[in-house]
Symmetry: C2
Amino acid sequence: MPNLRLAMAQFDPHVGDIARNGEEVVRWTRRAAEGGARVVAFPEMALTGYPVEDLALRASFVDASRAALVELARRLAAEGLGGTAVVLGYLGRSQATARPQNCAAVLHDGQVVTRFAKHFLPNYGVFDEYRWFERGDQLPVLRVDGMDVALAICEDIWQEGGRARAAGEAGAGLLLVVNGSPYERNKDDERLALVRRRAAEAGCPLAYLNMVGGQDELVFDGDSLVVDAAGQVLARAPQFEESLLVVDLELPAASAQDADGTLFSDGLRLVRTELTTGAAGAPQAVASRIAPRLSDEAEIYAALVTGTRAYVRKNGFTSVLIGLSGGIDSALVAAIAVDAIGAENVHCVSMPSRYSSQHSRDDAAELARRTGLHFRTVPIAPMFDAYMDSLGLTGLAEENLQSRLRGTLLMAISNQEGHIVLAPGNKSELAVGYSTLYGDSVGAFGPIKDVYKTLIFRLAGWRNEAAVERGEVPPIPENTILKPPSAELRPDQVDTDSLPDYDLLDTILDAYIEGDQGRDAIVARGFEAAVVDRVVRLVDGAEYKRRQYPPGPKISPKGFGRDRRLPITNGWRRG
Amino acid sequence: MPNLRLAMAQFDPHVGDIARNGEEVVRWTRRAAEGGARVVAFPEMALTGYPVEDLALRASFVDASRAALVELARRLAAEGLGGTAVVLGYLGRSQATARPQNCAAVLHDGQVVTRFAKHFLPNYGVFDEYRWFERGDQLPVLRVDGMDVALAICEDIWQEGGRARAAGEAGAGLLLVVNGSPYERNKDDERLALVRRRAAEAGCPLAYLNMVGGQDELVFDGDSLVVDAAGQVLARAPQFEESLLVVDLELPAASAQDADGTLFSDGLRLVRTELTTGAAGAPQAVASRIAPRLSDEAEIYAALVTGTRAYVRKNGFTSVLIGLSGGIDSALVAAIAVDAIGAENVHCVSMPSRYSSQHSRDDAAELARRTGLHFRTVPIAPMFDAYMDSLGLTGLAEENLQSRLRGTLLMAISNQEGHIVLAPGNKSELAVGYSTLYGDSVGAFGPIKDVYKTLIFRLAGWRNEAAVERGEVPPIPENTILKPPSAELRPDQVDTDSLPDYDLLDTILDAYIEGDQGRDAIVARGFEAAVVDRVVRLVDGAEYKRRQYPPGPKISPKGFGRDRRLPITNGWRRG
C-alpha cells in the first residue's frame, strides 16, 4: 500500500494576530517537510486564531484572513515548501451570501488548491457559531499522491452523520479533522471514544488535530491523536504542549471515481482535489508516538497554568500581582502563577487587618519563601481607620470595606508597577456570592474561578505531592491546606458560619449549575430542602456579581461566563 | 362584515415570575372582556417574561411554564373569562425532540385550544435563540366567531417569507403578531415600515403587539400598532407605557376551506382552531386611538428611565446611590434616577478631592437643591492620604486611586444603607477606556452606558427644556452642561487633554462600533489616520474593562454587553 506521512502541528495560534500565526505556519511546515511529510495539518482557524467571536463580523478582518491565506501559499512555495500539502484553518466568506465562514484550505505549490467550510456549527455552551458563520456543504477529498484524504472541521464529527459518514460512503482512505476543541475535565476520554466511533463510521483511520494554549476563558489541551478504523490508537500528542505529531499511515490506493458534485450523506457534495506532493516518500518509518496521559489533577492544573500563562503573555504583560491571605485559594493561585510565568514575575502582597490571624501572615510569608516569589506586607489599618472615621460602618459594610481596601491597594500597586492582578475567587464562592465585588473579585484574570473549593484542596495537595516526587520543596504550606477556610473579616470567622460544609455545597452546586437540575429534583436526591433552597437562592442572587467578575479558564462542563447565560433580573424562585 | 374587537395588552412581564405574570394576564383579560373584546393578546413569552436566556435550558422552568398555562386557562374560565380568546406567549417544549420552544397558545373556555412555536429564530445581536429554541413549522389560524386570524411571533415577520406570506396564501383576515422586540433608537420608524410591508404581503390588516418595561440590558418600548392592508395606521399604543390597545376591525367572513396540514410558504403547515367567543359583539365602536410619538430625545430618555426603573424595582430595591461630581454624566444619571423612582429614593454623595473645583461642588449641590434628592458630602482626603503614606503613588496610579476611593466609599454606603449604586459611565468613555475599573465603574447598573457623550449633552439639554415647558425647574445646572468635561483627577485636567474632541471621537466610534467598519474604511472617509489608529487601539485595549462593567439599557444598534462579543485577548491591530 502507498504510505502517507502525515504531520499535525499542534500549536498555539494567537487570536487576531494573523501575521504571527502565518509565521508559525511556515515554521511548522518547514519542520514537517524536513521530516518527509506529504501533508501537514494545522488546527481550526489557525490562521486567525480561534474563537475570533465578533471579529468574524468585521469585513476588514475577513478580508485580511483571506488575503493572508493566498499570500501564505505563495510564501511557502517561495521558501521551497510548496511541495508539502498544507491543510490550514482560516476565516473565510461564502461566495453565495458573503457571510463569514469557519473554513479550512489546502495550500500546495504556491496556490490555494481547495477551500471548504465547517458543515455542522456548534451553538451551545461557549459556542455561538450560528451567530457568525454560514455552514458549508462540501465533502472535500484530497487525493494526495494517489491516496484519498477526506477533510472535516471539529463539530463536523461531534454531531451524527455529516462528514464522517460521507467520508465512509466516498471510500476515503483517511479522515483528517482539524479542531479548536476547548478543554473540559475528562474531555480527553470523551474525545477518544468519539474519535473511535467516527473512525468506525468512516471505515478508515481518523486523524484528529487540536490546538493548544489559552484564549480568554478557553483552554485548548492538544491531545491530538490518530486511530485506525478499528479504533486502535496509532499516535497521540501530549496534552497542553506544542508538538508536531508525525505518523506513517499505510493507506489504500484511491479507487473511487465519483464525479465532483456527487451527493453523500447530509447533502454533502464531493469536491476532489488531486495533487502530488513530491515528498521523497518515507525512507525510514517514524516511530509511532503515544504520549502518556496526565492524571485528573495534573490535567486540570495544567489547564489552569496554560490559561493563566496565555492570558498574561498574549495580552502583553510579563508580571502578575496577587493578594496573599495565607488561605488556600490565593496560595493555589500563586502556585499556578509561579508555574505559568516564573517566580521572578510573581509579586505578592499580604494586606493584614486587625482580624488577620498570625498563622495567616506566617503562611503567606512561608509560601513566598518556598517559591521565591516577590513578597511584601502592607497593613490596611490606616486606610480602614480613615473610612471608619468618615462613615462609621458596621456589620457587612465593615467586612466588605476591608476586602475593597485590599482591592484598591492591589490596583494601586498594579497601576504603579505594571503587573496585572490575578483574582483568587473559586467557583463555590462565585456561585453563592461569598465574595466582595470590587474587593477580592478585583483582577484581570481569575485562574481558579471555575474550580470548586473541594477540588481546590485536591489540586493543592496534588501540586505539593508532585513537587515531592520531583525532589522539590512543596510550594504550599501544609497549614494553608489543613486549616479551616476563613475570610478573616471579623473575629474567629470561618466559612462554615455562613455556608454549608464544602462537600455538601459543591455537590448541590454541581447538580444545580453543571446539571441544570431544578430545586425539586435536587431535593428528590435526598438533600435537605432548606439547604437546597438556600443554595439555590444564593446562586440566583449572586448573578450580578458574577457578571462583573474577570474571565478565567473554563475547566468544567459549564463555566461561569459565556457558558452559562442567566438573567440577573430573575423572579424564578424554585430553581 | 363581521366585526372583531381585538384587545392588545401592552404590559410589562417579569422574567421568571410566572405567578405574577399569570395574575397580570387575568387582570388584563378581565379589562379586555369587560370592554367587549373577542380576543385579547399578550406579548411574546409573556407568561415567563422575555428573554429568559438559559432558564430555557432548565427542565423545571419549562415544566412550570407549561403547567401554569394549563392552570391559567382553567382559572380564566373559573373567573368567568373563558369566553374571551386569550393569545398568550409562554415557554414550551417540542413534543418531537423535547427541546424548549418559544411558544404562544390560545386559551379559551378553560382549555389550551392550540399551541405553536416561533418559526424564525433570531440569532444575532442580543439574541441567541438557536441556542435555546427549536423552531415551529405551523401556520396557526384562529377562526374566531367566523373570522380567520393568523398568528405569528416577533422574528416571524422580521425575516422574508414565513408566516406573513403564508397568512396571505391562506386567506387570513388578520395577522396578529406578538412581540418582545427590544428598543433601539428609531426602532419605531423601522417597525412601522416593516409592519406595513408585511401587512401588504399578507394582504390583510396586521396587529403588532409589543411589551414594555426593562429586563437587564434590554428595554421594551411598547409602540404596539395596527395597520390595515394598505398600511394605514388604525391604532397605536403609547411608547414605554402599559396600555390596553383596543381596536374594532371589520374583517371578512372566513371562507378558506384548506384542510389542516395544508402546506404554505416555508413549509408551514396549516392548523386551524375554531372557536366562538360569546362576546356580545361590539355594541358601540371603540374610538380608534393613535398615541402621539415621542421626539428622538424624549424617546431615548424614556428608554433610560424605563430600563433604570425596571432594574431597580424588579431586583427588589427601592433606592439608589450616585456619586455626584458636578459633571454632566452623573448629573444626567441623577436626573434619570429621579424620574425613574422619585427624588425621595435617590441618594447622592459628593466626594471631593484636592483637585475638585469649587464649581463642581457647587454644581452638585445645586442639582440636589433643584431636584430634592438626598445629598451629602464626604471628602476623600483622609483615605487618600492613608494610601499615599503607605504606597507613595504617582501619575496614573494616583489618579486612579482617587476614583477607586470613591468607588469604595459608594459601596460602603450602599452596604450600610441598602441603596444600589448607579454607575455614571457613558459610551464614549467605555469605548476608549477613559474610566477607572473599580472606581467610577462601580455600580449595579449603568443607566447611560450606551449613550455617547455628544448625545449626553443633547439629552441633558432636552430634559431641562422639557422641565421649562412644563413650568418646572430644570433639574441640571446650566454650568454642568456648559463647562468643558473633566475627570478632575489632576490640576486643570480636561477630557480633551487625552481624547479627541467628542464630536470627532463619537463619529469615529459610531463607525467602528455600530458600523463594524475597519480602520482603513474609516480613514477612507476622510478622518486623520493617526486619530483613527489611536481610537481603534484604545477601543480594542479597553475590552477587559467593559467586560467588568455593570449592565445598562441598550439604546443603540450595538450596545456593549451581549450585543458586541469581542475577545479580550486580541492581536488584530488594524481594526
